[in-house]
């Protein structure tokens, strides 16, 4: 069977050398990136894992066979091993672990998404401003960044959570506050190499304001490396959130947060291994997925990798 002619027309329209409108040019560019991304098999596996995470989070109510918060009969259904009824077994409060892992995907996705939404713009803004203006602005902003970088991430997050009070929202804020400095450093380094480029001189000579130059000309060029870095950091963010949950400073019981679930299963790790292992596997798979996706994105977006 040959390819559908209408699909072929669409692909031709997207890859046209002479786009007729702004949107066609933009879509064509995105389509080219997508085409080169699809040729990376591991990247596609990573994207698949992340998409599954998103779908599971959206349809958690449909997928989960049991209530994640209310357990079954405490006399007969506690700590049951994995079976057809309970795919991942049950925990010490007779709750179905599979249902809890499925609902935990929501919390994990929320942490990852909110941290990315909060930390990336801060990092980009601080880094590009500092790199573009240089001088004392650069010195002040970079010393602030250094102060944040000087603390181990989990310790600083612990301090913030301790100050703000335990809970998943405060954990997100704490992780976001501790994860922007690397993005600022990265964006600054990129900006330093961009700011003396002739195309920046050119737009300066058109009378553009500094804000317009940073937002419209510098940020798009820093964007790809920052996106790659954020994606690769997702695994670390999930682990930090799980670590805070494990220490009891993140999500509070009975929320089905993966790190907190591991902490709960730790007491009977030897006799009832599945209680801690199942959420551990979930953390492992999702972290791996984000890492693979980040690697794939780097192959496609990083201009330095492209030249080779």
């Amino acid at each position: 069977m040959t390819a559908d002619p209408s699909r072929q027309g669409l692909s031709q329209w997207l890859l046209s050398e002479q786009p007729a409108s702004r949107n066609q040019a933009r879509l064509g560019q995105a389509w080219r990136i997508w085409l080169s991304f699809t040729s990376n098999r591991l990247g596609m596996v990573g994207l698949g894992i992340v998409l599954i995470l998103v779908l599971v989070a959206i349809f958690a109510d449909v997928i989960a066979p049991y209530n994640p918060l209310l357990g079954g009969d405490l006399r007969t259904e506690r700590l049951l091993p994995p079976s057809m009824d309970h795919w991942m077994g049950t925990d010490d409060l007779a709750r179905d672990i599979f249902s809890r892992v499925v609902h935990g995907a929501r919390l994990t996705l929320m942490v990852v998404a909110l941290v990315a939404i909060i930390a990336t713009p801060i990092g980009l803004l601080v880094g590009t401003t500092s790199g573009y203006f240089g001088g004392w602005i650069d010195t002040v902003l970079m010393r602030i960044t250094d102060i944040f970088l000087a603390f181990p991430r989990l310790i600083l997050a612990l301090a913030f959570v301790a100050a703000l009070g335990p809970g998943i929202e405060n954990a997100i804020i704490a992780i976001a506050i501790t994860s922007w400095p690397p993005y600022a450093r990265l964006a600054r380094a990129e900006t330093l190499s961009i700011r003396n480029a002739e195309h920046i001189d050119a737009i300066r000579l058109q009378g553009a304001s500094s804000g317009r130059i940073i937002w419209g000309h510098v940020v798009p060029l820093c964007m790809s490396s920052v996106i790659i870095r954020v994606t690769l950091d997702m695994a670390g963010i999930i682990l930090t959130a799980a670590g805070l949950g494990f220490l009891g400073l993140g999500a509070q019981p009975p929320q089905p947060e993966w790190g907190a679930m591991i902490a709960g299963g730790r007491r009977f790790l030897i006799d009832y291994w599945w209680v801690a292992t199942m959420p551990g596997i979930a953390i492992f798979v999702v972290s791996l997925g984000f890492n693979l996706l980040g690697d794939g994105l780097r192959d496609v977006l990083d201009p330095k990798a492209q030249q080779q």
Binding site: E198, A202, Q206
Partner: protein
């Protein structure tokens, strides 16, 4: 009164041990409608004159007057509408993630011009690129086409003065002639004033009525085109430059 008047221009980069005195008292004046060339070897400061004039290099001394009025620092919007620049490397002077359309519309948006669509299309037509190029990205264009886009960008604000920083040195010989002819035609049509920097004496003698030879950040001498073509120069340095520009000679004994 001259359109551009530069008096005793001094430019110093860096400080302390890494201090570079790039320009030492350069003066020049360019009449309206004239094409003025600046030649010299690498590092002679010829590009720095242009960059200082448009505010990309720090001016440490001297005065720059446009139409008899001293320029402000930083330059105001009126300056940018009057003076524009074409850069040396067309591969570096266009933003890699912006379409040609965006490159040309952005200056119009900054300065609040009307009829932007029509102006962009007209600018592309004028530099010999059709509408088909409008929504392409720079990586889909050749070097000569990119330089045409850079020229269109410089012209779109309808300036009086165009500063040309070695506009053809990054291009193939065949494309060079095309771009030079395009610049010649645009100057005739619009009555533009050019200040052209080049290390290529052939380009300068083709394009410019008057020229200035620079070395080590200082002016060696000013010549007319006729004087250059007649080799009527008084300075050894200019003579050496002329000999070098004639290129490789097979038999040195034939030269008297």
């Amino acid at each position: 009164m001259a359109l551009i008047d530069i008096e005793d221009l001094e430019v110093v980069f860096g400080s302390g041990g890494r201090r570079v005195h790039a320009l030492r008292g350069v003066s020049l004046s360019v009449e309206e409608g004239e094409s003025f060339g600046i030649v010299g070897e690498s590092g002679s400061g010829k590009s720095t004159v242009l960059r200082a004039a448009c505010g990309l290099a720090p001016v440490t001394g001297g005065r720059i007057l446009i139409d008899g009025k001293q320029v402000t620092s930083p330059r105001d919007a009126a300056f940018y509408r009057r003076v524009q620049m074409v850069f040396q490397d067309p591969y570096a002077s266009l933003h890699p993630r912006h379409t040609i359309d965006r490159v040309l519309s952005e200056p119009l948006a900054i300065h609040g011009f009307d009829r932007r669509e029509a102006r962009v299309e007209q600018a592309l037509d004028e530099v010999g690129l059709g509408k088909g190029f409008r929504f392409r990205y720079p990586h889909q264009l050749s070097g000569g086409q990119r330089q045409r886009v850079a020229i269109a960008r410089a012209l779109i604000l309808e300036p009086k003065v165009i500063l040309l920083d070695e506009p053809t040195s990054a291009l193939d010989a065949s494309i060079q002639a095309e771009v030079l002819n395009l610049l010649d035609r645009l100057r005739d049509e619009r009555g533009l004033t050019y200040v052209l920097v080049s290390h290529d004496l052939a380009v300068v003698s083709h394009m410019c009525e008057r020229l200035m030879v620079m070395q080590n950040g200082q002016v060696v001498e000013q010549l007319t085109r006729e004087a250059l073509q007649a080799r009527a120069t008084t300075k050894d340095y200019t003579r050496n430059l002329l000999t070098a520009s004639e290129g490789f000679t097979r038999d040195p004994a034939l030269q008297t």
